[in-house]
Amino acid sequence: MSILILAEHDGSQLNPATAKTISCAAAIGGAIDVLVLGDAIDSVAAQAASLQGVNRVLATSAPHLAAPLAVNHAAELAAAADGYSHLLGPSSTYGKDVIPHAAALLGVNQVSDIMAVDGPRAFKRPIYAGNAIVDVNVPDDQIVVGTARTASWKAASDGGSGSVEARPAAAEAAAHTRFVGLESGGGDRPDLQTADVVVSGGRALGSSENFELIYRLADKLGAGVGASRAAVDAGYVPNDMQVGQTGKIIAPDLYLAVGISGAIQHLTGIKDAGTIVAVNKDADAPIFEIADIGLVGDLFSVVPELEQLLD
């Protein structure tokens, strides 16, 4: 068995989702190679090679691969797949965009969101927003293509010593798709997907000004900041902060849900959190059914109090 992993990065830093995908691959077993696609990516390739368990890094550098356009990246991934028994990527928006496209080029279906490995071709994955877990099997005669549900896997640690090889681009740029730009919402707070502590605010905050309360509390805790869909839709915060079925699936040690009712689509995103704390003024809010510690109260008084107590 040999596994090829599609690395995710921003041009200079390897995304931690890659190290998590490596842990999923390690559970499958076999030699692990990593494909890095981009332009001038020596440093990213070196970071990938230093992850525990990585055998070889294939680095394909070309100007048209600088932007993460799925058509271009999937063409490279499919071309590099020859000889591998498994192709894996993270189930981030990047992985979800590229991997199914590559799977179709290879003529196979994909296993989305692998949360557990039962055998080289047997996996568990969530369906119905995580309300059911299904066992799936990939037939013997085809390459396994899948995405790893990042919240289910711990990041592989550093200390590996894989080799790095340049791999020339296999395909030309697709003329029909052009990258225009990326507008990044994130500030310099800890990344939502890797932070140990996350504080999220919901519709109850009422405005982007009031959301400052959440930011201030988060800063006291050194936490990442998330939000419910309602808060994002209302324009209090940017879309990249949404936690849940259609946002980010996260697994911090501590999650504080403030003014969030606990809709099933939101809970899907925090199922794997260590400890869930909920602050809500409605004692019957569904969030309390799953919260480890609940506090019934008005967030506009509770949050400032918490902030003071943490001084």
């Binding site: 969530p126 990326l182 980010k248 869930i276």
Partner: protein, 248 residues
């Protein structure tokens, strides 16, 4: 330009999902079924593009047994011009669905195949990307804004890092994210009118869609449930409890 819109019949998003006790699947008997929410958004966007004079025809497509006609009629009532049911009772794999959409796109000379970013039953998030690959055309997934400009489209995409904008030449596949729009409500007269709109039934074989050897689903289990924890009185008690547990 014609726009094909994928409509999947799925368990309504408000239904509390129960796994069957024998592990054979999720209970769907007597459960409310609806259009997959992302598909409703895709259809709304297609209708707006048509209303802006940038498309002539909106065709809703569903692959499944006769029960999917219910969702197709809802799509017609929302404003689609006609509907196609690709008739099959088999359990579908994303690649099969993608091959059908690619074949239909060719047949109909579609300018856009507009799909949902994911079906909320299988949560695969694959069909749009696979359709683009099979069809050999651009893909713009997770769209939160779509501007059609002649033969191309500028699409804003919701990605982990923020909002990405790309430009694609048509024909192309676009998949909708939740913030693309708010779908309209269906009015009673529209439901009556929809009964007279054309709904064609074609066989899956006519579209050569079988992907063959697919991934098989076995046992289904309910997820490990989180249980209700403790309640604390006030902020000070909360901080105390967090300290006790070594979380602060």
């Amino acid at each position: 330009m014609k726009i094909l819109v994928g409509i999947k019949r799925a368990v309504d998003y408000n239904v509390r999902i129960r796994v069957r006790s024998d592990g054979s699947g999720v209970e769907t008997d007597g459960v409310k079924m609806s259009i997959n929410p992302f598909d409703e958004i895709a259809l709304e966007e297609a209708l707006r593009i048509k209303e802006a004079g940038k498309a002539e025809e909106v065709i809703v497509v569903s692959i499944g047994g006769d029960e999917v006609q219910q969702q197709l009629r809802t799509g017609l009532a929302m404003g689609a011009d006609r509907a196609i049911q690709v008739n099959t009772d088999e359990a579908l794999q994303p690649l099969t669905v993608a091959r059908i959409f690619a074949a239909l796109a060719e047949q109909e000379h579609a300018g856009i195949v507009f799909l949902g970013k994911q079906a909320i039953d299988d949560d695969s998030n694959q069909v749009g990307q696979m359709t683009a690959a099979v069809w050999g055309r651009p893909q713009a997934t997770f769209a939160s804004k779509v501007d059609i400009d002649g033969a191309s489209a500028r699409v804003t995409r919701e990605v982990d890092a923020g909002l990405e904008t790309i430009e694609i030449d048509l024909p192309a596949v676009i998949t909708s994210d939740l913030r693309l729009n708010e779908p309209r409500f269906v009015k009673l007269p529209d439901i009556m009118k929809a009964k007279r709109k054309p709904l064609d039934v074609v066989t899956i074989d006519a579209l050569g869609g079988h992907a063959g050897n697919g991934i098989s689903a076995g046992h289904h289990a309910a997820p490990d449930a989180r249980s209700r924890g403790i309640m604390v009185e006030d902020a000070a008690a909360l901080v105390g409890e967090l300290k006790n547990r070594g979380l602060l």
